[in-house]
Amino acid sequence: MGRESSLRPEYQILAYVTLAKERVISSNCLCLLAKSEDEAKILTADVAKAMKADVTKLTNGDYVIIRV
């Protein structure tokens, strides 16, 4: 994330990976519902690799795939 210190970083949420169905709400980014923690990890890694993006793990265990 070498662009962290640009004057105005433009963060873009590319995908949200979660295990809880109730957290999947309508949005303009891709929301993926995983069956297990392992599946969530794999999904996140696959999407992040494809999109050349970074991943943030939220404290509730969900993953947000972002691009700066």
Partner: protein, 302 residues
């Protein structure tokens, strides 16, 4: 030289001698240091030629005035225009490269570099101008005039070089190795939170195994004004990534409590001494420099 159309040998010697002094001055301060700028060999050539032009303007200004050619004063405006163009050229060139580097130089650093190149042309101009004055004023044989001009020119170069020499981060702060810690995909350096984008196991592992960090601690509290400046931190990060390369991730973060600044990255070449040296030698930007003394101004007048 009174209204003569053809230059005398003496005048020609003075002009050529002065141009030589000015151009040599430019070459002497045209160093390719650890910042690897200007690039070799084309960048060198460009700056040598612009230095030569600056020296030529300085060298012919006085002989032209002595020949009562007062229009020659316009040479000075031409010189100013030329130097401004050098600055503009540098700025454009570096701005164009911004998206190809590991991290941004940032507008403040680019401005500083461009100003430096402009001022170095002034140095070439002034040294050749002073050399030309000395050569014209000395009432001796031409070879003594030339020696005198060279001595004055290089003395001026020495003084101007010291005058324009800026400070670096190492002059106002301590730069030491930082300890990297990754907790629950959050990155910390010496307990300072840096980022939480190490969300995958791969990213955590990569940073733990290959990450490097330095902590910049200001020597005095008021130096925080310089170090906290966004452009200054960006310049330090840029120098770190350029010295060691950047495999992935490069962050800069400031600690509000103690004023420490963290530079952390995953370098291509793992060399802690080189990282510390690169950060220490990062120049203090003119745009970030603030006068500490102004805070002590006695406004009451007692």
């Amino acid at each position: 030289m009174e209204g003569a159309q053809i230059l005398s040998t003496e005048d020609l010697s003075i002009i050529v001698g002065s141009i030589l002094v000015g151009t040599l001055s430019r070459i002497l301060i045209l160093k390719e240091d650890y910042r690897q700028y200007p690039s070799y060999p084309n960048g060198y050539l460009i700056h040598m030629i612009t230095g030569f032009v600056a020296a030529a303007l300085g060298a012919v200004a006085l002989p032209a005035l002595f020949s009562k050619n007062f229009v020659a004063v316009t040479f000075l405006t031409l010189a100013l225009q030329q130097f401004r163009d050098v600055r503009k050229m540098e700025k454009e060139s570096l701005s164009d490269l911004e998206h190809t580097e590991y991290t941004y130089r940032g507008a403040a650093y680019i401005d500083g570099i461009a100003k430096t190149f402009e001022s170095r042309n002034y140095i070439a101009f002034i040294t050749s101008f002073l050399a030309s004055i000395t050569m014209m004023v000395l009432p001796y044989a031409i070879w003594i005039k030339l020696i005198g001009g060279f001595l004055v020119g290089f003395a001026a170069l020495f003084l101007l070089k010291n005058f324009t020499k800026g400070k670096s981060i190492g002059d106002i702060a301590q730069v030491e190795e930082g300890t990297i810690e990754v907790k629950d995909s959050n990155l910390y350096v010496n307990g300072i939170f840096i980022s939480n984008i190490l969300g995958t196991e791969n990213a955590e592992k990569l940073f733990q195994e290959e990450g490097m960090a330095v902590i910049i601690t200001p020597n005095e509290n008021h130096y925080r004004i310089n170090l906290d400046n966004f452009g200054q931190r960006q310049a330090a990060l840029f120098e770190a990534t350029r010295a060691l390369g950047n495999k992935r991730y490069a962050f800069t973060r400031k600690d509000y409590e103690k004023g420490r600044v963290v530079i952390t990255l995953i370098p291509i070449k793992r060399d802690l001494d080189a990282l510390i040296e690169a950060v220490k030698k990062c120049p203090l930007l003119e745009s970030a420099k603030k006068s500490h003394a102004v805070l002590k101004t006695n406004l009451k007048g007692d």
